[in-house]
Symmetry: C2
Subunit: 460 residues, 2 copies
Amino acid sequence: MLDKKHIDELKKIVGEEDIKTDKIHLRAYSYDATKEHYYPEAVVFPKDEEEVSKILKYCNDNKIAVIPRGAGSGFTGGALPVNGGIILAVEKYMNKILEIDEKDMVAVVQPGVVNAHLQKAVEEKGLFYPPDPASMDYSTIGGNVSENAGGMRAAKYGITKDYVMSLKAVLPNGDIIRAGKRTIKDVAGYNVAGILIASEGTLAVITEITLKLLPKPKMKKTYMGIFENVEDAMNAVYKSLASGAMPVAMEFMDSLVVKALREKLGVNLPDWAGALLIGDVDGNVEEEINYQLGILEKSFKENGCKEFKVARDENEANEIWYARRNASQSITIYGSKKINEDISVPRSKLPDALRVITQIGEKYGLVVPCFGHAGDGNIHVNVMVDGSNEEEVKKGYEAVEEIFKAVVDMGGTLSGEHGIGLSKAPFMKIAFSEAELNLFKRIKEAFDPNGILNPGKMGL
Amino acid sequence: MLDKKHIDELKKIVGEEDIKTDKIHLRAYSYDATKEHYYPEAVVFPKDEEEVSKILKYCNDNKIAVIPRGAGSGFTGGALPVNGGIILAVEKYMNKILEIDEKDMVAVVQPGVVNAHLQKAVEEKGLFYPPDPASMDYSTIGGNVSENAGGMRAAKYGITKDYVMSLKAVLPNGDIIRAGKRTIKDVAGYNVAGILIASEGTLAVITEITLKLLPKPKMKKTYMGIFENVEDAMNAVYKSLASGAMPVAMEFMDSLVVKALREKLGVNLPDWAGALLIGDVDGNVEEEINYQLGILEKSFKENGCKEFKVARDENEANEIWYARRNASQSITIYGSKKINEDISVPRSKLPDALRVITQIGEKYGLVVPCFGHAGDGNIHVNVMVDGSNEEEVKKGYEAVEEIFKAVVDMGGTLSGEHGIGLSKAPFMKIAFSEAELNLFKRIKEAFDPNGILNPGKMGL
């Protein structure tokens, strides 16, 4: 319990104005994109690394839980204070782009910088920061690093971890550390940055992030392949990539999504359309773009693609992307509650994975529309239920558990992007052995012996 | 001390034939590329993961040091048994390419597979494994992962860590774990693979490695820029890359190397040549190659390049590469002993770094020829001394320490590729704070509480 003495001590660190305990603040910081609510005992807004260090040291000495929080846009409850304690909110002050260095092609940012703001700032300088989670308009780089966020461009450009060169972070005991360097290569010491990425705020509080940037490719084009059925599309994904295509993105929508897009949003697609693959290809010269499109068209058509379109201008590109961007909201026609998972499998297992997911849905009498980042094997699986029907919600979660088991059996993972947090913690035993879970616990203890950082997450 | 009882117990695990304690074996496994000698008490050749697990469990229970070893080609003594114990040699049995999966574009290998063997095997299938350390003809993938090996192609394609999807490993207590998945995205659990990479055999014994492969680019061309002086060349490195060039490699040789190449090997270079930048550009279409070469030529010439050549055929390409491939052996004209370091700095600091290195050399009256992977900021700094002159060798190491300090001051690292091992352990305090070193120790303890794995390395 956080008593008045603790509040007073924290006030000494951040000042009267930057610790909040009123109901409105506690409510505002009680939820994230899971829509579950857990109330913190206080919300603290540190101004800099020094304050973060003092807060952590105090909380560590007094065994007060600290939950670091960016935009609170996570899908697995990573920023929820399940055991009370304080929310350490970085979005108020620690939200600055400190540097965009065109010479070294790096950006240095504070954790509260919104992904899209960084994208825009670097693109103005002819540079490129590829990771583009769907939440990019509001999610923060600190959160992106903590969850190792992906996005559509992962098929060609990889994910957040591929762009983190160096981190500054504060350990629970208040120690300020730097992990990694502003160099392409660095093999001195343990790769601490590597383990802080995706650690969901359970090991340290990240206070500064140095990111690798790329030159922005000169041009891109948008393609769409329309298939009669999911299996053809899933075969086309891995076969086209194995043929040497490197599209920026290869996004998938299944027949339920196609139906929803048509019925809810009036998207114009052929009657026979049972699956879509869409994406961009990019490059510096027209010929490279055409080379890529050539591989895609040939390979798609060899795998049952009935229509392959390339957008002739930006309007047509936007039309194609409209379908993908609205996939998530269109499927609400299937149920008031969406149990939204983000499994990932080796690409060649996509046909099996989609077949098994449909079968599990049928077994439970539920529809499971799927869409997502097929180009990297990461699919958003949406088990649709009537949220007011307790029995059906329960069945939904049973179906999810069965899906996880099947996915892990085929060499896949519980989460490609969203992390474990609270929502997937019960499933950690499906994915990890006793020995692996024990090792996670020992790593946690090495960083956070008192267990103050984001307790109750990741099944730890 | 390893007594007869221990030997007998280990024999029960691996069989009579696969543990050696004779002088010849102990000598054969007493050294690596540092040419220093430390004798193990036994050399053990496990046949598989199960045997590795039993060996580690036994040694952990009995506090016997275990030093995992691939080819022993490391430059920092990572495979040297400084405190005795057993060498765990994977090159005899655990040397198989288990799978090259063209559908998922991954390779699964045992740690003892030689890098070049893997390269060849995947290229025969039209695939590409980019990391190409200079030792690739004999160094093993297990060693490459343990040191996070780089290579020339890092400028465009990154380093070993960028290709490791998943590892199997055995912890000191005998637990067999899998870290990571055969999926592009995986954010479930801590990134244990991330911390095992570059951990120099101090945390676990890697028994299986799953690597990401790329489609092999269809074509490449070789370029060479000849500069009058090092500063121009160093400016050209970061400015050409900041202009959007993405060459596969951008290798540098300074004026001392140029002189040595001319005098020792008769390489035909202009009299005025004071620095070289050479490399390949690759792509799938001619136009992309020309686009890349165009940026390089323009930017090089804007920064003082007097001659820019593009090889017209393979012979000319080999001629250009001959200079770089023989840089290391040519500089032996400057001294019988080469103190060979591999610092890495942010690319825009290369002009400063090279200037300071030369100054430090002058201060100590030593020549310091430099060459290496300028495209990623990683330079091989060779402090040349007369190995029979104890005084000069001592001065050489003092110069090295001063170089490390200067490099770290400019945001660089002690090692871009070679690791810390034994040789750089004394310099860890230059690069890391007390808090960071303490964290390394706690991480070490989390994996290896008895400290049996590769003791005495990394300053731990």
